[in-house]
Subunit: 320 residues, 4 copies
């Protein structure tokens, strides 16, 4: 059994990690770090965890084999500076500190999208876990990028309220958000740079990504539709995608309509392609807290540690 620590365990992605790792056969939760909730049982913050995990949150990190950082963006680097971690520890950062530039001291964080970087992730000690929208949109576009077929992309995506975290905001007030739809960060979402850095490394030429994120009136999940121009036939695109993801346990191409709830409470991404004239639309759906965050972090841990990729990730979908 490997010892695990989670920093920022009191947040949504941190507590999802607890839910996943509590039943993982190869790890034990060694400490759950939280400055603001130190001294409180995690199950007092999240009563669904009662008897599943009643660990008391602490502000005293210990030596562990695997460390997950679930901090607000731009706080991982600070935390690591203040709490030095030995070189042998696998660090998986769920924030965005090391996604664009992975260098930190002697470490070099690998971008943790297993569908492109599985080899580099294997045995790695430093992993930058991708963003939620970034995961959904990249998985929708990677096979085309790999063939150098992307130019202009028009993407609309919708996210559940968990994407906004647990802080109380007017846009997460139930009275406002229920039955409501709104756009935010139009054309300037922070994930665009992250997406383009990866896609361009494949595509070898300029890509423009016009991305409109919407707030949805549900708690979990991301659904994105990306429109591109291509002369490929639909069946050729589908084959391209199937080949690209042939060995991937969590990326699935569907020839039938997909919907968000197919993936909620799972680590999966489902992708469907439609075409009319020379315009193709690629739909993709993930659970933003799992394949878009904590589930993918466990997947990355499994790969880095040389374990079966889906260990602890055979989750019962919510389905209904």
């Amino acid at each position: 059994m490997k010892k695990v620590g989670i920093v920022g365990a009191n947040g949504y992605t941190g507590s999802e990690l607890v839910r996943l790792l509590a039943f993982h056969p190869k790890v034990i939760l060694s400490f759950l770090y939280s400055r603001s909730n130190s001294g409180t049982k995690i199950s007092d913050l999240y009563p669904d965890l009662t008897t599943v995990c009643d660990v008391v949150l602490t502000d005293q990190p210990e030596d562990v084999d695997i460390l997950f950082l679930c901090l607000p963006h731009k706080e991982s680097e600070n935390w690591l500076n203040q709490n030095p971690v030995k070189d042998e520890t696998l660090i998986i950062d769920l924030g965005n500190d090391f996604r664009l530039n992975g260098n930190f001291g002697s470490r070099n964080f690998i971008y943790g999208l297993p569908e492109i970087n599985k080899k580099q992730l294997s045995g790695s000690k430093s992993i930058a876990n991708p963003g939620c929208f970034a995961t959904s949109i990249q998985l929708a576009l990677l096979p085309l990028a790999q063939k150098g077929l992307l130019n202009e992309v028009y993407t609309t995506g919708i996210t559940g309220s968990t994407g906004a975290g647990q802080s109380l905001q007017s846009t997460t007030h139930f009275t406002w958000r229920n039955d409501n739809i709104s756009a935010y960060k139009t054309l300037k979402h922070q994930h665009v740079e992250e997406i383009l850095q990866q896609l361009v490394s494949f595509n070898n030429n300029e890509i423009s990504l016009n991305f409109i994120p919407w707030r949805g009136d549900f708690a979990r999940g991301i659904f994105t539709s990306s429109t591109v121009k291509t002369d490929l036939e639909l069946s050729d695109i589908e084959q391209l995608y199937k080949d690209f993801y042939a060995d991937e346990p969590f990326a699935k191409i569907s020839e039938k309509p997909i919907d968000l709830k197919q993936v909620v409470n799972t680590n999966r991404c489902v992708i469907q392609i439609e075409k009319s004239g020379n315009v193709a639309v690629i739909h993709s759906a993930i659970d933003n807290l799992l394949k878009g965050a904590s589930g993918q972090a466990v997947q990355n841990m499994n790969i880095a540690m040389g374990w079966e990729e889906n260990l602890g990730l055979n989750l019962k979908p919510i389905a209904f």
Copy 2:
């Protein structure tokens, strides 16, 4: 045209009053008072009001014919002490300051449930608008109370998130509240005393009301089911209720199943009675912000001013 002022116009019930009075044919909005949002247009707080009402909130009240107080509970009295109002002004208080004891200086606040106090409300200058659950539960029980037939009552009610106001709380966070149900203030909701004071004045003997309020995963509305014992036949109870509410424009007895959305965005209360053995259940439903607050306040204004009772209250139901 009568001049109206609304104190606490920046809250939910205050802004609902603006929505109702903006199209009322006998009044003009003279001032909208808010200390915290003074200087801001009401339509900047509530964009649905743009061009409907672009009045700037002020902390300087003026002389008006009709004054609505939409303040947090226990603040109405303070406000009136600090901002003396002349005797000729009709004051309608939506808080709970004067519901149990209506005496304030030379004023005597009448409990503003038109279905029992219409005569006293007519011409009155001081009205204490009932609470939302109090309205739904009283309308469900009044005809039985009037006949002295109430003893023990078991009521469960569910309320939308607007009942909790606009402040950001963990129990109104979308992520928590969506798809969720929970109980609060079990057996000790503050409306029980208000309800009993009215019912007992009719019933002439002891009543016990065991009331369990639930938080619902919707924004608007209250649905309550009250269980009582009675030897009356169902048809007799229905007749009793129909007679009691025969002249009431906003209380309707239904012989068919009722549901909450029948009344959302209206000033109505619908009531249905079911019976098995000697046990009767009375279901009732209202929109908590309208018949449960601002709509009833307008109804009370109409009655007090001698206007048609439903003036400005012919509202299109949301229906779907």
Copy 3:
């Protein structure tokens, strides 16, 4: 008072017309036609209408001044062939039979988008009411089309379940639709042709509209985001839109973020524009059953009859 008949009053748009016209000061409901529900009170189908409108549905149409057709697509023409209507009667068809080609016998149906055709609608006897998505998307694009500035448009839109009508379908089953998002009719929604016919008549050159409709997990409303390229500055686009809609009571340009609930239960369309580089995004929101159907039909009636355009349309927004 003008006499009104509604054909298909048992459906969603038909019953919304009843809700609107029951309180309209210039009309009386003369007959409500339904073959399948003939003999039933409309208020038994829609209990929210109890005492508001208890008219019995009939399969015997009468002579009226104004006739609304709320039939499934492609059934209006059949109905008119089987039930001849005299020439003086104003016919407003909410189906899509006459939107693309308005010729029918001696009648010539005018496309009923008041923001472009107000003059032709005034005094008209035949009006083809636009589709719901068609209304939202056209209002978002018209000012640019009028200047010949549209080329390629990428639009994603999301609609409430009422857009799918009242028939029971797997995609309107609560268990499936709750918390779910899905795409349908990708790049081939029937409104695209309707939209382009109007836009091209303004724009004078080819426009391509790549439209992805999504099913939303709410009952009412449409939100669309349309992406275009333009060298105009944001402030110039905003001014263009404000000028274009300067005299329109129901189309509003917002410089601040918009959201769907600003317009639910109103006849309004709110529009917001954002820009980055040479890419502009135009967001728009309507209530699909009001500005997208029955509300716009009443607006068209008012214009055709020479009445005030917003008569009967000063609706209280749901707001929360």
Copy 4:
């Protein structure tokens, strides 16, 4: 590995069993029976099951070690008559055919509520799985019944739409159900008899259960509040419940407020007790498809087979 068959695998409870058993370490799915969907892959009906379980539904049952019946009420007996099952096969019926009277041929179905019948269930070959409301309400009342402390009980419960099954009905139409609350089967729900039969066997005297079920606007879960009179102190009641459920892995007493989402997508029941005067309220919450149906069926299988009770039931809660 034991061979499992599921009859009625195309329904909600059947497909939930598939989701649970696909990852259960001691069983393999031998056949999935459905007359109406024979020849179709289960993953074509429920795309979330793609690659998890792609078994083709059949109308030819085979010999298995364990057979689950997930048929509409009153169809289990017919099915068994037409498809004889050998004596060694463990049959778990999720319908209500054998709950009140367990005799069927040489079999005697044990009522499958592990919290009362664990000994009889161990090694049993015939189990009648309890109803969903019946599970939630019994778990809320059993410790009091065991002490003979129950007389009159007033219970209100709310259920998600999955409780109504997958057939398309007006009360499961999204447009109607969203944001809506309604009562059904007031005082005459079919589970009352099932509940009383069990409780009375403990309580040894008359119990009256006045039960009002409500339809909720969510898909999964049941929340019930039961009101009783008792002279016991709150702390004594809590201790009584804790003692009663001390060894139960899935029934948990909470001293803090509970909410429905604590148990959604788990096999747990959480219970909270409140008291005022001589009135006690017991709240309880379960996932109607898991502890209220398929999860409890797996729990019963585990007990009957002598396996660890929570095998395959360490489910990640939806939590958000």
